[in-house]
Every structure is written in structure tokens, then in C-alpha cells.
Subunit: 401 residues, 2 copies
């Protein structure tokens, strides 16, 4: 192996993980557990919504034409014909010159086509004075105006939000077809690693990445499966990878991906499968590996936590989304002004942590091994590969973390 | 009771729910389960991080001064003194004019203060040619540069992200002090409501809101407890509210909050506690109730799903965040240009659903009862109370959903 990585552009790395991503099969979950999951099929409404023309106000159902020209000084006087009760129709049609009290959600009676808000009326004996005209269909939702029976309410690939729960409930989707949560195997490698519960001695560091990768995977709708700390010994590493590949839908390896000869991730992946990419034109995160063992995608992430995080956000995210069958959940960016010059090397996409406050992005030029920039920053500045740097005061897009 | 609501401004409603929010007690969870939870106490590092000065590159540990003035044509020649192994110190100090191979994460040996990247060197027999100077402390992380032992790594009130998992792991925080997940009781009221599994008849609608509210509560770190559909009968409603107040930390009632005389939420809350606000200057969502039963906050939300959602986002969110002890997780807004004029009534805060695409916000002027605007929109436009409307082409801030 050469001492130097042969790097590929970020877009090529993303395309490669998207190609490797095999969508997981679907399963059905109760509606109450579907939020955050990804739809595996289009959902159709089993009814017309609404199933009847209904009022969206408390007020009086009228024929809109009867209110034309009405005002405070010139109210329209309509005869009150009782009241609609929730869930019940009117006893008889309402005629021209008449009105009937209707609560929000009430069934609009035959002969009426709009609702006057209670606030715009005044009772006068058995009559109602209407002081503001309403238009045809004002303050009502018409029969099947919202969704038609059989129509698609939400489409395959959608990551379901709290609002979507309401839409699915209305459509009668009590059992929701979603993609299964992919299992993501997580291996941390390195003789220097000790568990969180141990006090690291000189030369040792705690296993930080497996917690971060597991939480990232869970945040992205996956089930993390951690395989603990793997020593830099080939048989142990090979056995752990083989087991993870057997048990999981994808494997993320932390550490062991740089070109130092002790690093064996690429060799172990190649032995059990294929290394497609070793090295991405990204900083931090250059020594990333993309490979596969059979149909199971395997990523080798750099050991530095901040670099690991950038590769998770920029590259691995696309793998997880692809497996789970969605393109939703893209990065959210907001514009900001740079507080200082940012130098950059052409030919490499740089991701620099920033503190974003009041529209100003302050870059934290921390070394990629530092954790405090993980704690302090709330955004990432992407410097495109073709840029040689950005200037103070320039407007840039910041990826929100 | 008067026919009209006496409305309060949105900021007063928010201040009221924040005052009502009693922070829940803390509990301890394993680190692997802490992501998304809110820290109940500051977390201190139990060690210096790192515990030793370490390399962040694969390369050669050197005395930086030995590389001054070096370049491609004028390399510095340093005698190679073997290699550092991971987790182990050097056998002996490195002297001026010497260097030693060091892997990423290796312990910087005595006598050196920087690391030259392998890429900027070339071997020549037993010597290493350095072709680029390094500065004092370049490519190393110094002893406790990241966090000092006993220092605060993350503060109370922080909503923990995937990145934070890494920081907590490094600090030795295997058991994380977090606020308990508040239990949010959810009551859906209305004679017109039927469960999702039933086909609604004329006059009926499915119970949409309890699913939406439950998912919203869970998204905000709470445990939803649903009490099913409550009929508009005072004894049933009173019993359900009493039970929810006994069992939960807060109660959200859907429906029954408008001023129609059949709507009894305010009366039932007043009977068991106190109604503080009935009516907010917000559209949709005007007939919202804010009250309490003992120390348990009780909100009455409008029955229209789209209105319910706006009140959840604008008002209830502050209640849940207050209970859980955080101010994190504010709304994310991005600037956009309006595609059309937006009329508005002065004195009322309007929230209009928009489709945001390529920096253009297209308002969906759907009636607040429509579900399809919930499915189609991806943002909310806030029109401030003092505005009489917004104009085509104007730059506005869109709340991302």
C-alpha cells in the first residue's frame, strides 16, 4: 500500500454510499409509534375528508346571498331556525331569509352555503342581525375538499412528523407501513481506547466515538448495535467485523482508517469484501474508508471525534437515509456573516465548526481532535473544494447542528 | 360567560405557561440512553483531557525550531530515532536534530513540541527530510488543552445531542443526570369524534389531534399519556380531567375550548382549578385556554388540527421546555422571499403555513381545519401583531417545521 491516500471528491463519496445503500424491508407499526419513521408505501385515505360540509366557526349557517351588502348600519335580518347539534343534521332545510345556529364542526344544513361568525351578528328577538357579508363557502370546509377517498395523503419515503400523525389518523391509517429500522453495527478500534468507566492512563483515551456514532444512528432512525472496543489485532478485528456484518445492515468502524501501517481497517475490510474508496477530499475526515462485505456497506471513520462527526454528517447520513428509504432530513442551513477570514486549501472541502449568534458566524479553528469545539459550536461552515478561502463579512451558509 | 373571548397577546400567553411550568425532578440514565434528554446538572470532567500531549497526525515528532526555514529545495535533515507505538511513550528523550515517527494519537516524547505530517517529509537512509516548517505545538493537542479535570464540559439545561455523547464519554460521565420525562395527559373531547379505526359517519370526524399532540410531546422529550375520546358530558369530562391531573405533570385538552355554550373545557378546568387565560390574539388558535389544577398546568387547545398545531408550536412548546428544564430547541427560522401579498389583521399574530422552496415562501391560505396544508407545508410564516400585512417579494423569516 502507498503511504498516501488517493482521495476522491465528496460528491463521489456520497454517490458511492448511496449506491451501496440497500433499502431495508418494510414492517407495520401502530400509528402511535410511527412518528419519526419513514413511510414504506403511499398512504391513501379510506374516506372522503371531510365526509360532509362542515362549519369552521361558531356562528350561523346562512345562504351567503342573504348577507350581501350587510354592514353595521345596514344589517341583514334573518329568522333564526333553531340550532344544529354536534354530529347531527338539521331537522329541516333552511330557506332563504333564515339562518340556524351552528357550532364549529357542525354539519352545514341543506339550503345554506356559508357561516357568519357569531361575533358579526346580534340577536334581535327571534331574528339574527348579520352585520358583515359572507361569501359563498366562507367559513366552511366542503365535502371532500381536504382529501378524496382513495387519494394519496402522504407519499412513500416521507419521514413522518407530528403533524403527519394527524393526517394519517384522519385517513384511517391505524397501522402504518414503514421501513424497518436498519441495524448499524459499531466497532471502535485502537489499543489506546479504554471504556468510559475507566480512568485513562498516559497514552490512553476513552472510547468517545462509539457513543457519538450510536446516538447519530438512533437520531437517524436506526438501531445502533455496539461491539465494544476492538484491539488492533488482526484476528480479533476480523472476527468482530465478520460478526457485525452477519448481524447488521451496515457497519461503521471508528478508528483504524488512516494510512499508518498499524491501521488495519482497510486490510480487514478488503479481506472480507471490497474497499471502494480510501480517502476523501474533505477536512477533517480525509482518511475515511468506504467499502462493503457482501451487500453490507462498511464505513471506516477517522478516530478523531470531530472528524468522525463531520464524516457522519456529510457522508454517512446519506447511507443511513438510503437504507431507510428517504431523502428527507437534509441539512438545514441558514445564512450568516463571517466574523473573520477563513483560509482553505483548493481541491478539498473544508468543514469548520462555528458559533452562530445573531447572524454572525465565528469560526472555531480548533484542531479536529478537540472535543470542546464539539461542545461549543452550533454550526458547520462548508468551504467548497474550489474555494481558496472565505473573507471577513462574506455571507455564507451555515449548517445547523 | 360572555359570548366573546377576552384575548391576551401571544407574549403574555407564553409568559403564563412558563410561569406555570414546574421543572420535573432529575433521574440518572446510562450514557447510551441520554441523547435527546436535558441535563439536570452541570457535568464536570473527572480527568484532564487529553491526559498527555498527543499527535493529531501520522508523522514525525520534532522540535519545531529544527524545521525553521525548511522547504522543498532546502529540507531540514533530521535523524530518525525509531517509532512511537500507540499507547506507549518513547524509550528515551528526542534531542535537537532528531525526530521520531509518531502515529495519530501517539504520546509526544520529551524534547519534541510539534509533529510534521508524513506527507511533508521524505526518507533518506536513516534520516528524514522535512520539507515544510512546523510551528511550536503544531499538529499536537497539549495536555489538558481540551478540558481540565473538574472543569464543566456541558451545562445544566442543555438538550443533549449526538455530539454531546462524545463529550460526556470523554469526561467519564457513564451515568448522566437528566430531568425526568414529564408525563403529558392528552384528552380529546367532542361528541363528533370517532377513533381512527372507525369509519366516520356524517357529522363525525376521526380523532386526529390526540395522535398529533402525543407525537409532539414525545418529540419534545415528554411521555404522552392518552385518555381516549371524552364525550361532551360534564361528569365524564370532569372524571377524565381529574384522573389526568392526578397521573400526569401537565394536561393538554383538545377541543371544547371555544366559546360555544356546548364547549365545557373552561368550566371543567375552573371547577377543578383555575382558568388564567381564555383567548389568545393568535390565528389560528384564538380560543386557547391556559389554566391549572393545583400545580398541574392544563391547556385547552382548539379542535382544528392546524390550529392545534400552531398552538403547540407557539405556546405549548414553552410549557414542555420549562417542565423539562431547557431553553434549547428553539424554533429554527430561515429567510425567504414572499411569493404573494399576505393580508393580516392588526392586533393579532398570524401564523400562515407556507411551502418553502429555493428561498421562496408560498403561503397556503388553507382554512385552519384543512389537513392537506399540514401535509403540504414545510414552514410557518409569522405575521407580527403590529403588522397589517406583508408584501410580495418582501424578505420574511420562515419557521421550519
Amino acid at each position: 500500500m502507498s503511504l498516501f491516500l488517493s482521495v476522491v471528491p465528496v460528491h463521489e463519496a456520497i454517490a458511492t454510499v448511496q449506491r451501496l445503500a440497500v433499502q431495508v424491508p418494510q414492517e407495520t407499526v401502530p400509528l402511535a409509534e410511527a412518528c419519526g419513521r419513514v413511510l414504506a408505501a403511499d398512504v391513501h385515505s379510506d374516506v372522503n375528508i371531510p365526509g360532509f360540509t362542515r362549519s369552521v366557526m361558531d356562528g350561523y349557517a346562512v345562504k351567503a346571498a342573504d348577507t350581501t351588502g350587510s354592514g353595521d348600519a345596514t344589517p341583514a335580518m334573518l329568522t333564526l331556525r333553531g340550532r344544529i347539534r354536534m354530529g347531527q343534521g338539521a331537522d329541516q332545510p333552511v330557506h332563504r331569509g333564515e339562518c340556524i345556529y351552528i357550532p364549529t364542526g357542525g354539519i352545514l344544513p341543506e339550503g345554506t352555503d356559508a357561516v357568519v361568525m357569531a361575533e358579526n351578528t346580534e340577536p334581535l328577538g327571534d331574528d339574527i342581525l348579520v352585520k358583515k357579508p359572507v361569501a359563498h363557502h366562507e367559513n366552511v370546509i366542503r365535502y371532500n375538499e381536504d382529501f378524496k377517498k382513495g387519494g394519496v395523503v402522504l407519499s412513500r419515503g416521507r419521514r413522518l412528523s407530528a403533524q403527519d400523525m394527524g393526517v394519517l389518523a384522519a385517513a384511517g391509517c391505524a397501522e402504518v407501513p414503514v421501513t424497518r429500522r436498519p441495524k448499524i453495527g459499531i466497532l471502535s478500534t485502537g489499543n489506546e481506547l479504554v471504556p468510559v468507566t475507566e480512568i485513562p492512563q498516559i497514552g490512553q483515551v476513552r472510547d468517545v466515538n462509539s457513543y457519538m456514532i450510536a446516538a447519530f444512528a438512533r437520531d437517524h432512525g436506526c438501531i445502533p448495535v455496539t461491539y465494544g472496543i476492538i484491539r488492533d489485532e488482526r484476528p480479533a478485528f476480523e472476527a468482530a467485523l465478520a460478526r457485525a456484518v452477519r448481524e447488521c445492515d451496515a457497519v461503521l468502524i471508528s478508528g483504524g482508517s488512516s494510512k499508518d501501517d498499524r491501521d488495519m481497517a482497510a486490510a480487514v475490510i478488503a479481506r472480507q469484501g471490497e474497499v471502494l474508496i480510501h480517502g476523501i477530499a474533505i477536512a477533517p475526515g480525509k482518511p475515511t474508508i468506504i467499502g462493503r462485505c457482501g451487500t453490507v456497506p462498511v464505513l471506516g471513520l477517522p478516530g478523531h471525534p470531530a472528524a468522525t462527526f463531520v464524516v457522519l454528517v456529510v457522508i454517512a447520513r446519506h447511507l443511513l437515509n438510503g437504507m431507510i428509504g428517504t431523502t428527507d432530513g437534509g441539512l438545514v442551513t441558514v445564512p450568516a456573516k463571517l466574523s473573520t477570514n477563513v483560509p482553505s486549501t483548493k481541491g478539498r472541502e473544508d468543514y469548520i465548526r462555528v458559533v452562530l449568534r445573531d447572524g454572525i458566524a465565528v469560526p472555531l479553528f480548533g484542531k479536529s481532535g478537540l472535543l470542546n469545539t464539539l461542545a461549543e459550536s452550533n454550526g458547520l461552515l462548508r468551504v467548497p473544494a474550489e474555494s481558496e478561502g472565505l473573507e471577513t463579512g462574506q455571507t455564507v451558509e451555515i449548517i445547523l447542528l
